[in-house]
């Protein structure tokens, strides 16, 4: 039976809010931005959390959004809720950025512009070893500022690493402001299409459609795939949406209560449709 990706995404969103509140940590806006993306990836993935060499590799190149990934891992039963709620507790395996010590995480990220390269290597290994496994990379739009991101994108296209799928979290925000104000980077799909990529532009909060793309039902699978996923930083909580400060701030008690209420109301409304 197909999973209800909408419900799982909302559960993931609630967990991001609850766990970050418990830990009194920020990076909430980035996490809320990618809930549907990581849920759709996990829906398409196989063997995550096992040692199977043919398992799907997932690289959260935007490592600062790790809490959304951990939350989704717990929704898919790959890590326990106890592990998830150990987030940022002294001695925990779960800090604010991914570490391969964690079940379900293969690569350490946190330095922008590196994870995409790890993913390119994983996809190279698939080609060399004739594996079936796919590699997913969740890339932040701010990582397009890093030259090393472009090195890796070109290497993937040139080597036709068709098992590689990059989900670009296009939320238009980065640490110091709107992406368009910090660094003008329009035209990405066209640029990559010219160097050996298939490119799709999708609603980054439509988990069902993302899952179709990630299972390669929306392209011919002959090239690496870039999914430009248009998202909203802070998605689901009106006072966080599109606000730079929610890259940094932890929630107050009142803010947390309102945030949870909003996500649940949205869930109810959508269920009623």
């Amino acid at each position: 039976m197909p999973r209800n990706l909408f419900e799982i995404s909302q559960n993931t969103r609630i967990k991001v809010l609850e766990v970050s509140k418990k830990a009194n940590k920020g990076h909430i806006g980035s996490g809320l931005s990618i809930c549907e993306i990581v849920v759709a990836i996990l829906d398409s993935a196989t063997g995550v959390g096992t040692d199977d060499d043919d398992r799907t590799r997932i690289v959260l190149s935007k490592g600062h959004a790790a809490l959304a990934f951990y939350s989704a891992l717990s929704e898919f039963g790959i890590i326990s809720d106890d592990e998830l709620y150990s987030y940022c507790v002294n001695g925990s395996k779960f800090g604010t950025h991914p570490d391969p010590i964690q079940t379900g995480t293969d690569f350490m990220t946190g330095s922008l512009g590196q994870g995409i390269g790890f993913g390119v290597g994983a996809a190279m290994a698939t080609k060399i070893k004739n594996r079936q496994s796919q590699t997913f990379v969740v890339l932040s739009d701010s990582e397009l500022n890093e030259g090393s991101t472009w090195e890796s994108l070109y290497v993937a296209g040139h080597n036709n690493l068709k098992s590689l799928v990059v989900a670009l979290d296009l939320n238009g925000q980065q640490a110091m402001g709107k992406t368009r104000d910090v660094m003008q980077l329009d035209g990405l799909p066209n640029q990559l299409a010219m160097v050996g990529w298939n490119c799709l532009a999708l609603d980054g909060h439509d988990s069902e459609n993302l899952a179709l793309a990630f299972s390669r039902k929306l392209d011919d699978g002959s090239k690496p795939l870039l999914v430009v996923a248009k998202t909203i930083a802070g998605k689901g909580v009106s006072f966080m949406e599109g606000k730079i400060e929610w890259h940094y701030l932890p929630q107050s008690d009142d803010q947390h209560r309102l945030a949870i209420e909003e996500v649940n109301k949205f869930r109810q409304r959508t269920r009623g449709k």
């Binding site: 293969d106 946190g110 512009g113 590196q114 993913g119 390119v120 290597g121 994983a122």
Partner: protein
């Protein structure tokens, strides 16, 4: 040394399908044989050292053994953070290969001089720096290095002279009160100093340091127990390389050995020349070193 390295690598690749050779668009004239024989395991990533080391991390995670080949400054320094957060953080057997140790690239200048690579990479626990002293060592040891599960930086000269020096990591015993420790290819400069000391009537033994890892500090301390003078010689800045390592071993173990460092002292810019010229211009004056040791004086 580079040719022997690639020959041996070719031989290992014949028997080990895990070996993948990556280059950041260098090796013209020396890597073609490998590329033709093992086309699926030869990857030129273009001039992109960071992407090369990052991708190598992904390859190694899948059980492959990638070699990342370029000029030493580019693999060791340009890609440093990728080596740190990739193979080192993940404890994966990526081989970062740097050709052109020290000022091997002569007239090419500072951009091509790996005089700070050891300083940059020496800090990491669980990491190995292999600076083979000569081509014989490359041939005899590469298989062992290949099978070492740690990430490694391989520091090579393009060419180089041979040596019969004992190597520190084999825990040699010395009877001389004066010892010269040389890093990798610097045994040639060590031999020059030894000859001068010999002429001055100082009995000296030479040891090559060709591997730096978590054990090296202890190995140095064990060696220097009864040594009065230790001259360190390296084609590297005197700060951060072998000389610094020996000073750490001496200081932290309370050993009564005077350390005299020979290495690159000035930033090698603005004057160009061959290796001999550069050695005289930018490295420690070995005449003064010999004088100091032979007089048995201590600095300061």
């Amino acid at each position: 040394m580079r040719a022997e390295f690639l020959d041996k690598l070719f031989e290992i690749a014949e028997n080990d399908e895990r070996l993948v050779f990556m280059t950041a668009d260098l090796g013209f004239g020396v890597v073609e044989k490998f590329a033709e024989r093992f086309s699926s395991r030869f990857i030129n990533v273009g001039v992109a050292e960071q992407a090369m080391v990052a991708a190598a991390t992904g390859l190694a995670e899948a059980g492959l053994i990638p070699y990342c080949y370029s000029i030493a400054t580019f693999t060791s320094l340009r890609a440093l953070e990728f080596t740190r957060n990739g193979p080192i953080a993940h404890a994966l057997p990526v081989k970062v290969v740097g050709v052109g140790a020290g000022m091997d690239y002569g007239f090419d200048g500072l951009t091509h001089f790996a005089v700070d690579d050891v300083a940059a990479l020496r800090a990491y626990p669980g990491f190995l720096i292999w600076a083979p002293a000569d081509s014989d060592e490359v041939t005899s040891d590469l298989e062992e290095i290949h099978n070492d599960p740690r990430p490694v930086y391989i520091r090579l000269l393009r060419r180089g002279e041979k040596t019969t020096n004992q190597r520190l990591h084999t825990n040699p015993k010395v009877s001389a009160r004066t010892v010269i420790l040389s890093l990798g290819d610097a045994h040639t400069l060590s031999a020059k100093i030894a000859l001068k000391l010999d002429s001055a009537g100082v009995f000296v033994e030479q040891i090559s340091v060709t591997r730096i890892d978590d054990q090296t500090l202890t190995q140095i301390a064990n060696l220097l127990g009864a040594v009065d003078f230790c001259v360190t010689v390296e084609n590297h800045f005197i700060i951060g390389g072998l000389g610094s390592l020996v000073c750490e071993a001496v200081a932290t173990n309370g050993i009564d050995t005077k350390v005299i460092r020979v290495g690159v002292e000035d930033l090698p810019i603005s004057e160009y020349g061959d290796s001999e010229f550069l050695e005289k211009r930018f490295m420690t004056d070995i005449g003064l070193v010999v004088e100091e040791v032979s007089r048995g004086k201590r600095h300061k």
